[in-house]
Structures are given as structure tokens and as C-alpha cells.
């Protein structure tokens, strides 16, 4: 059971994702048949699958969603943004529930209430559709109790079969206060054939009962047409569902067909019967085929839940058409020859070729081992060279080269295991843009490019949040309202482009809009007003640097904090997240024609490229990502004001810090360094977010790819270090986190 449950959670997540995508496509192009079908299938499968577990609110919600979609599919209801909103809300709710199910195994306590609210919204829509368009058969789905009517009730209805109008009325609990008398409404229903009044929830004992609260639910069948019945409920459209149903011949109604595999009258039996009905529906060959696959899945899942697992292939064969399925359900599975069974079991084990799910910890362990292996392999080269000349050396060299190649391949393969397409972080964007644009009354076209670009899973995790923020920001502050756009001669709809591509060992994502751009003058003013910069410092900034101020902590250009972007994550948070992952953010903006933000990230977090530097006899690593250059600076060019030193590099005045001093090591001057001291310092130019810093070191060594190990244990609290790493020759280095160190 629990395995089935896990499977449901995974499947539900996939289905909800599919449904979200289809709904977006459908809203864009309401005539998109394939999307309607896909959406309908997703809801239908969710309904079937959720019915296996005790989660009535979930089932109810997707059920009503399915009803609404069936109206849509049959063209009896058009797609509107409002309807899309409601369906999106339903999908969101389901997603939250699935998350809760995954965490706690149960729906939250308020699920029934939440479902009820959403169902009202949706069924309000479908009742409208029903009243407007007139119902046809096929609506039986919406009134499952009709199919479940027992024999005597059927007699009461007074006809064995035919088209009836079903009424499902759940009065608002407070309806007595507004003067409603639900029962009285049924007096006005023409040709009322059958009426059942039941408590919608268990009635409390009389002593605790509020006599002014309506707890009843009304279900009825009428022989009159939907249009004739609807007027009776004109005052309560949001509380009633009306639709026409076809009462199948009672001799062999689908649900009454003996289903040997489930207890008669049970939900499972009804669902199994329903599956056969689905196979009867008309459709193209492709539709039928996909339907039969879905039915086979549902039947197999239902049977498993009933404790009667049946081999998949047997079920699939039985689901070829409705007749076969009914026979199969009535007679039970064909008896397997005992000798045949192991073979069948094997077939089952082999058949599901689903994606392999691996615990991330195991992947990380593998990655770490591969990293270590590369490092250890690196030590073989120097060893071989020490052996000297001779046949043995030649063999060892050949061996070492083969090992080199293999380790390289292994590392590549292991890296690839962790690579995922950026589509994963792009997926939420269409929905975000749609909702946000709708809320802001802007028209925005989202162009996604390079979703197939791959990057390490860790990088994707880092990328997700900043990307959402950039997109939100562009919609909120970048792209102007349609009137303003029209006034400046732009098309009323804005374009937001998110473009990902691979770039020398890293992955780049650009978010660009054709909006108002950023005004450097306004940036300067704001910076001064907020006390971030002195007026003369602000005036001295180049336009590009002024625009870059958006990344400064505590900066927000919009006059007011909107509920969209003002969520406490400013652009500085975007910068911090990206830089923490060893990446960079750049921004370019042209006032009046748009802004482009570019995020560059390394391909993987597991292997970091560092510049090895020396200070006071120890080796340290500085991540290449922050290194803007390395050069020797003559002592004479270093200007000192008291202890604060600075140097002019590339026409910029850059503060200079000494690594020895930062690390609390003795000053270089204190020891004897060659004849007459040094005339020049080795300087690493570090590009940190708030400006460049020159770091003076004793010496600069090679660049090396290392596996960065975060500090652990008591060292964890140590600030200023990103971690430790082992160099190719086995020496241990500390990798610096300059941002924290400064």
C-alpha cells in the first residue's frame, strides 16, 4: 500500500506539471485540442488514482475539474482567463496537497474546506455552462450517484432508461438566514422523479445542533430538460449543479455488470466499471490507444489496491476494448499456469523502463570519490618522473597515461550524471509570467531559449530563486504598462527573453526585457538619498557603475515596494546567491529600450578552479571566478595613507590589502627577504560585488581544479574560508572566501 502511495505522489506531481503546461498552452490558444485532451487526461487520471486512497477532498476537486474540462472539451464552454485562473488555483491546491501527502502522508485538516471553495468556483462555471448550452450524455461522470442508483430507486424514477436531468444541490449552511428554503425549490422542479435528502455531514446530536444551519444535501432526478429545471434554482447558481444524465438500461448498466474483482457497490467497482465506459468513448486511433494505456494503468492500480495484483501485461491485454475489459472484470484474470508465473514476474520486473531515481547523497559520494581519484592520479605523474629512465619507467608512463584517460572519462561521466537541463528552472516561468502580467495588467510575451542547456543539479538549485526574482523584477519594474509603451512608440505587449547557453566551462543565463531600462541619473540620486554614497562619489560613477548600484545591499529603485518584488529578496540577494556559487552577475541597461541581466555560473560546484597563492609560507586558493587578473606591482606605485594602501590598476584606484595581514600572519617586512627587500608585490585583483580589491600575496602559483571540501566539525564556524582542497601533488590548501575575509 505504501509503495502504491509513493507511486501516487510521484505520478501526481508529474501529472500536475503536465496539466499546468497544458493549461498555459490552452489559455494561449483556446482551440488547442491536444492541450484540452491532455489536461482532461491529467485530471481524469488524478481522479482515478486519488480515489484509491482516503483523500476525498482531493478526489472531489479533481473530479469537478474534470467535469469542467469535459464541458470545455465538448465545446460547451469557452476558455476564459477567469476559468484559467480557477483551474490554476485548483492545480496549485493539488500541488500543495501532494506536497503535504509526501511529508505527512495525509491531507491537511482544512482540505475539505479548501476543496469546497475551489469546487464552488469551478462548478459555478460548469453550472453556467450547463444552463447556457444544454447538456448531452457523457455528463454522467459529474453525477456518480446516478449510476449507483439501486433497483428500487430506479423504479421510483419511473423509467428504466433514458435521458434525465440530475440535480445536485448543496445549500449554503447559512442559507436560512438569507430566506432560502431549499426544500421549497424542489416544488418548482417540473417532473420530479426522485429526490433524496441526506445530511451532507453527520448531523450532531440535537442538543448541539444549530437549527438555523443547513446541513443537508439534495439530490434529485427530473424527467424535464435541463433548461426547464434550471430556472427553479436561479437564486442559488453557485450551490447547485444541474446536468443531464443518461440512465443506462438497468438490465446491463456498466456499473451493474457483475464485477467479480471488487465488492459490489464499492467505489472500486464503480471505478472499474467507469474504466470500461472510457474505452467505449469515440475518438481517433491515437486517442483510443492513449486512453487504453491510461485505463490499463488505472485498472492495474485499482486491482493492486484491492489486494489483487494482476500482471501488467494481462491487464494491458484486457484493456484492448470495453467488451474484453468487462469480461475480464467479471470473470477475473485468466488462471496462470503455475509454470508460467516466474516468467510473468520477470516480465514485470523488466518492463517498467522508468527514470532511475538515485539519492542525491549517493551521487555526492560518487562525485567526491571521483574528485579524490583525480587528485590521487595527479600524484602518479611526479612519482613516475622520479623513477628515472628504463623499461619500467616506459611501462609505467604508458600505464599512467591510460589511467589518466580513464579517470578523465570517469570524471566526465560522473559529472554528466549530475547534469540536468535548465528546463527544470525554466518550467515555473511561464506560469509566473502569466500570473504576474495578469495581475499588473500588462501584456508580456515570454521567450524561453536554451532550455536544453545542461548544468549541474547544484547550480540549478542556486539558479532557481534568483531567476524567478529577475523575471518578477523585469515584469514589475522593467516592462511598462501598455499605455506607457504605446506612448513611447513601442508595441503594447512587452517581450521578456530568458536565454541560456553554454560558455567556456560555465553556463550563462540572460534575462532581458524591452522595458523602460534603468536611468543612471535616478540611480545616483537614490544612492545619495539612501546614504549609500556621498554626492561627489555618486557623481563620479560612470553610467555603467551607476546602473550596477541595483546590486548594492539595501537598494530598491521603485518608488514603492510592490507586493511582487518587495519580498525581501532584492537584487543584492540575487548577486549574493550567484556569487556564493562561484558565479557572476552583470547588468546592462539602455534607458528607454530595456535591461539585460546576465548570470554566469560554473558548470558544477563540485570542482572549483582556484589560483594558488602563497603567503607566509603557506598555500591558499582563491576561486578563479572572483579573480580579475594577476600582476606584479612595483612598490613605488603603492600609495599608503596611514595603514590604508591603494594602487592604480587599469585606470582605477583600487584598495590594496595584504593577505598576510588579513590572515594575521607576521608582516613581510619583519623577516629577511632577499637582498634589499622586494621591489614589487604580487597582486591578485579580486572582483568582488562592491568593487575590485587588490590582494597582495607573496607569490602566485598555478591554477588548479580542486574538489572543495567545506569546513567541518569545529572548523565549521571559521569565517573567511570556503573550504579545504588537496592539490595534484598532495599538498593541502585552504581556499579563501575573500568576501568574508575582507
Amino acid at each position: 500500500m505504501s509503495e502504491l502511495f509513493d507511486q501516487f505522489v510521484v505520478e501526481a506531481q508529474e501529472l500536475l506539471e503536465t496539466a499546468g503546461g497544458a493549461l498555459l498552452a490552452l489559455e494561449r490558444d483556446p482551440a488547442d485540442r491536444a492541450s484540452v485532451d491532455e489536461l482532461f487526461r491529467a485530471f481524469h487520471t488524478l481522479k482515478g488514482a486519488s480515489g484509491l486512497f482516503d483523500m476525498a477532498p482531493f478526489t472531489r476537486l479533481v473530479h469537478v475539474g474534470e467535469d469542467t474540462l469535459s464541458l470545455l472539451r465538448d465545446g460547451r464552454r469557452g476558455m476564459t482567463p477567469e476559468l484559467a485562473d480557477r483551474l490554476f488555483r485548483a492545480l496549485d491546491q493539488c500541488a500543495r496537497w501532494v506536497a503535504a501527502l509526501e511529508d505527512t502522508g495525509a491531507l491537511p485538516a482544512d482540505a475539505a474546506q479548501a476543496a469546497e471553495t475551489l469546487v464552488r468556483g469551478l462548478s459555478g462555471v460548469s453550472a453556467e455552462g450547463a444552463a447556457g448550452g444544454g447538456e448531452a450524455a457523457g455528463e454522467a461522470d459529474a453525477f456518480p450517484w446516478v449510476a449507483a442508483l439501486a433497483g428500487e430507486d430506479r423504479e421510483a424514477v419511473g423509467m428504466a432508461e433514458g435521458v434525465l436531468t440530475a440535480i445536485d444541490y448543496r445549500p449554503d449552511p447559512d442559507c436560512f438566514f438569507t430566506g432560502d428554503d431549499p426544500l421549497a425549490l424542489f416544488r418548482r422542479v417540473p417532473d420530479l422523479r426522485w429526490l433524496r435528502i441526506e445530511p451532507a455531514e453527520p448531523l450532531p446530536p440535537l442538543a448541539q445542533m444549530d437549527p438555523y444551519r443547513c446541513l443537508l444535501r439534495f439530490r434529485a432526478l427530473s424527467g424535464a430538460a435541463v433548461e426547464a429545471v434550471t430556472p427553479a434554482f436561479r437564486s442559488v447558481p453557485d450551490q447547485v449543479r444541474i446536468g443531464s444524465v443518461t440512465l443506462a438500461p438497468s438490465a446491463a448498466p456498466p456499473s451493474a455488470a457483475p464485477i467479480a474483482m471488487a465488492p459490489p457497490g464499492s467505489l472500486a467497482a464503480a471505478m472499474l466499471g467507469e474504466q470500461a465506459r472510457i474505452l467505449d468513448l469515440p475518438g481517433s486511433a491515437a486517442e483510443r490507444q492513449s486512453r487504453s494505456a491510461a485505463v490499463a494503468r488505472a485498472v492495474a492500480a485499482i486491482l493492486t489496491a484491492l489486494g489483487r495484483p494482476v500482471d501488467r501485461s494481462v491487464v494491458a491485454a484486457a484493456c484492448a476494448d470495453a467488451g474484453t475489459l468487462r469480461r475480464f472484470l467479471a470473470d477475473g484474470p485468466p488462471e496462470n499456469d503455475p509454470a508460467e508465473k516466474p516468467a510473468a514476474a520477470e516480465a514485470r520486473a523488466a518492463s517498467p523502463r522508468r527514470a532511475l531515481r538515485v539519492e542525491p547523497e549517493r551521487m555526492d559520494a560518487l562525485m567526491a570519490l571521483v574528485g579524490e581519484l583525480s587528485v590521487v592520479k595527479g600524484q602518479l605523474g611526479p612519482l613516475v618522473r622520479r623513477v628515472g629512465d628504463g623499461e619500467l619507467t616506459r611501462d609505467m608512463k604508458a600505464f599512467s597515461a591510460r589511467l589518466d584517460a580513464l579517470v578523465g572519462d570517469l570524471r566526465h561521466a560522473a559529472l554528466r550524471l549530475r547534469l540536468l537541463p535548465l528546463a527544470r528552472v525554466f518550467d515555473p516561468l511561464p506560469r509566473l509570467v502569466r500570473d504576474t502580467a495578469r495581475r499588473l495588467d500588462k501584456t508580456v510575451e515570454l521567450v524561453l531559449e536554451g532550455a536544453e542547456t545542461e548544468a549541474d543539479k547544484d547550480i540549478l538549485d542556486v539558479l532557481g530563486e534568483p531567476l524567478l526574482h529577475l523575471v518578477r523584477n523585469a515584469l514589475d519594474h522593467g516592462i511598462e504598462a501598455p499605455e506607457r509603451r504605446a506612448a513611447s512608440g513601442k508595441p503594447p505587449g512587452g517581450t521578456l527573453r530568458v536565454h541560456a547557453f553554454q560558455d567556456k566551462g560555465g553556463v550563462v543565463v540572460e534575462v532581458s526585457d524591452d522595458g523602460a531600462g534603468i536611468d543612471p541619473g535616478a540611480m545616483r540620486k537614490t544612492a545619495v538619498a539612501k546614504g549609500l554614497l556621498a554626492p561627489d562619489a555618486a557623481a563620479a560613477l560612470s553610467d555603467d557603475d551607476a546602473v550596477r548600484l541595483v546590486f548594492a545591499p539595501g537598494f530598491s529603485t521603485a518608488g514603492s515596494v510592490s507586493d511582487l518584488s518587495g519580498r525581501g529578496v532584492g537584487m543584492d540577494a540575487v548577486r549574493a546567491a550567484v556569487e556564493r556559487a562561484g558565479g557572476r552577475v552583470e547588468i546592462a541597461s539602455t534607458p528607454g529600450s530595456g535591461t539585460r541581466v546576465r548570470l554566469s555560473l560554473p558548470l558544477t560546484l563540485s570542482i572549483t578552479r582556484v589560483v594558488v597563492v602563497e603567503a607566509a609560507g603557506s598555500l591558499y586558493g582563491i576561486p578563479v571566478a572572483v579573480v580579475g587578473g594577476v600582476q606584479r606591482v612595483p612598490r613605488a606605485e603603492i600609495r599608503a595613507v596611514k595603514r590604508a594602501e591603494s594602487v592604480v590598476l587599469r585606470d582605477r584606484v583600487v584598495p590594496l590589502v595584504r593577505l598576510r595581514r588579513l590572515l594575521g600572519q607576521p608582516e613581510e617586512g619583519g623577516e629577511h627577504t632577499g637582498a634589499g627587500g622586494r621591489e614589487a608585490d604580487c597582486v591578485v585583483l579580486a572582483e568582488l560585488g562592491d568593487g575590485p580589491v587588490a590582494v597582495a600575496v607573496d607569490d602566485v602559483g598555478e591554477r588548479a581544479d580542486v574538489v572543495l571540501r567545506p569546513m567541518s566539525g569545529v572548523l565549521r564556524g571559521l569565517r573567511g574560508y570556503a573550504g579545504t582542497a588537496v592539490l595534484g601533488d598532495g599538498r593541502l590548501i585552504l581556499v579563501l572566501d575573500l568576501r568574508e575575509l575582507l
Binding site: L183, I197, Y212, C214
Partner: protein, 80 residues
């Protein structure tokens, strides 16, 4: 007063409205073996129906009103 209470028997007469709900609830709660006579009832408010469903009194006489007869024929204990 459309509902007349007579020891353990309540007689519903003519159109019984939502105003009768509270007295009926109190009476049902206070009366051990409550019985109701619906024969003269021409209209029954949903609130009253709900109380009858919850309190399950014995129906000594079902309503003569055709519509109500269909509704009341189902409830508890003994049918009409």
C-alpha cells in the same frame, strides 16, 4: 402557531416556517418519545425537515400534501 405541541405529540398544520425551528428543536430535545403528526402540514421548511431527520421522532401520520409525502415517506422508524 402552525405547530401545536401536545405532551409528546406535535401537530404540524398548514405552512410550517423557519420560525418554528427553535421551538421544535427545544421540544424534540426535551421530549423522550416524541411523535409528530404531519397530516395537516402543507409546507415544511427545510430547517424543520432537518430537525426531524436529526431527532427521528415517530411519524404517526404522514403529510397529505403530495410533494411532502414523497419527502417524508423515507424517514425513520415507521413509515406511514
Amino acid at each position: 402557531m402552525p405547530i401545536r405541541y401536545d405532551a409528546d405529540l406535535a401537530r404540524f398544520e398548514a405552512a410550517c416556517t423557519v420560525e418554528d425551528a427553535l421551538p421544535l428543536a427545544e421540544w424534540l430535545e426535551a421530549t423522550a418519545a416524541a411523535r409528530v403528526d404531519l397530516s395537516a402540514c402543507t409546507d415544511l421548511h427545510t430547517a424543520l425537515l432537518q430537525l426531524l431527520l436529526a431527532g427521528r421522532p415517530t411519524v404517526t401520520a404522514g403529510p397529505e400534501d403530495a410533494f411532502l409525502a414523497r419527502v417524508i415517506s423515507l424517514p425513520p422508524a415507521s413509515g406511514p
